[in-house]
Amino acid sequence: MSKYLKMVWVFLKLSWLAAMEYRADFFIGIVIDTGWGVMDLIFFSTLVSSLGGLGGWNRGEVFVVVGLFRLLAVPVWAWMYASFSFLPRLVSQGELDMVLTKPVDSQFGVSFRRFSINMIGSIMTGSFFIAAGYRIIGQPPHLANALYLIWLLVVAVFLAYGMFFASVAPVLFFDRLNNVASLFTRSYDASKYPKEIYIPILQRILTTIWPVALILGVPAETLFGRPSWGALLWFHLVTLVFLIGGRVIWQAGLRRYASASS
């Protein structure tokens, strides 16, 4: 375990060195990342001023959820997308051999390969949204709910990882799926809306087969003091299913993988 943690630290340092090699790119990335937050601010300000709330969330709660969305965007984009977006090229150009022949688990090798260090903007805008949301609500969260939130956000990151990995692992079965990483990122974008706005069958799909609605929905409901023990249990169970399922798909893919001559 300590070997893997040390390797994560080394990959982080290498990513930092690479980012500092192209400093203009790094600072532009921070500006663009902040810009996405500004765009969310304009969109949701217009939305809540027109609608009052959204689904089961009132105005303040909408801003808090968007803040959580921007904070969770950091592991989704800075870690998972940064690593998984290269997986199709690794497979199609035979460079996956360089990962498979290393004395570490191959899933770890592709999952922690790269990090994007320029998402400071998301941390700032996310924190701003949460503060603004609670200002509208008029009272801070209960301490117990806030502590539950920290644990549930950790589980949400695991669920996001499981879903993202399960969606990119099929590149081992299909050629040239260069854009497969966009499947999860687009559905993650949709997770900032409450599931109540969808028709029942879509709600069922978004909480079971492709449970993006749970990533933010369950932590948010717990934070707002409306936890459902069934939903909490289901949240943990689904996370476990996707973590194991992604692994199963990956291992099955590796069994049929034949290098493209590296």
């Binding site: 990335g29 663009i32 217009t46 027109s50 050629d175 854009n179 687009r186 974008d189 109540e196 706005i197």
Partner: protein, 277 residues
């Protein structure tokens, strides 16, 4: 007069070269259909979410100058325009420049690089656009009760504007891709382009939702003419004079980016070195 048949033959030979590129690109697209399916699902996810967001609004009233049915129709029509006008050779062009493959694919070929790249994109879009149209039709059937149409002329003019938008986005994306002649790492350039298109281009939210100051900026930048202008024409949000101004701005931006492409190509190929091909 004696040279006229020779000129016609030469013209036909040149066209055959371009058609050859279209054919090869089409064959590649049909051989690797996966990316189209992924784009289809990804775009549908975004559009379906936005449709349900606006459906949850209470009926009546204007939201940013749009009625609720107009907002829902905006995203349905926008889905079609995303497929129809999404000509972005940036990704493979920058990769070919970085890897040196461009030497074999473009630099030593005796035809126009602009039109060769256009033909490669055409091959992809001959498959992607019908697929995207089918997807749009499916979403339309689902949202048909909220769908609005303001007559034949807005549709025709919007399509004409979107054809200009194709050339604009294509030329813009080409210029961004050619930055790879000088810079090793240009990923954030692409992110800035998409950020501009989504924010100032109306792909995320209608441009009308922005503050008056930002709308003025949007009217100056090219992003509005990539996506929002055809939609504004479709929804009859513009007077005939404003439509004319918008079309003229599209043409001016096309001329700008084509000129910029020629300049960057000329300077870039002089500065470029590659190895291993």
């Amino acid at each position: 007069m004696a040279s006229w048949p020779a000129a016609v033959c030469l013209r036909q030979l040149m066209m055959a070269k371009y058609f050859g590129h279209v054919r090869i690109s089409l064959q590649n697209t049909l051989a690797y259909r996966g990316p189209i399916v992924v784009w289809l699902i990804s775009n549908l996810l975004t559009v379906v979410a936005m449709i349900f967001v606006w459906r949850s609004a209470s009926a009546g009233g204007l939201i940013g100058g749009f009625t609720k049915p107009e907002l829902i129709s905006y995203y349905v029509i926008g889905l079609f325009f995303q497929w129809f006008t999404g000509w972005t050779p940036f990704y493979w062009l920058k990769d070919e420049i970085k890897s040196g493959e461009i030497v074999g694919t473009l630099l030593v070929k005796p035809i126009s690089p602009y039109w060769q790249i256009f033909c490669r994109e055409l091959g992809w879009h001959l498959v992607a656009t019908p697929v995207g149209s089918l997807a749009t039709l499916g979403v339309f059937v689902f949202a048909r009760h909220s769908f609005v149409v303001y007559g034949l002329w807005p549709v025709v003019l919007a399509l004409a504007s979107s054809v200009l938008a194709i050339f604009l986005i294509f030329s813009f994306s080409l210029c961004l891709g050619l930055l790879a002649f000088w810079f090793t790492h240009i990923g954030t350039v692409d992110a800035a382009f998409w950020g501009g298109k989504i924010f100032f281009g109306g792909q995320g939210i209608p441009v009308a939702f922005l503050s008056p100051q930002l709308i003025r900026v949007a009217y100056i930048l090219p992003f509005r003419y990539l996506f929002s202008l055809p939609l504004e024409i479709y929804f009859a949000k513009l007077s005939p004079a404003q439509i004319g101004q918008g079309i003229v701005m599209q043409c001016l931006w096309i001329v700008f980016f084509v000129t910029l492409f020629k300049f960057m190509w000329h300077r870039g190929t002089r500065a470029y070195t590659a190895f291993g091909n």
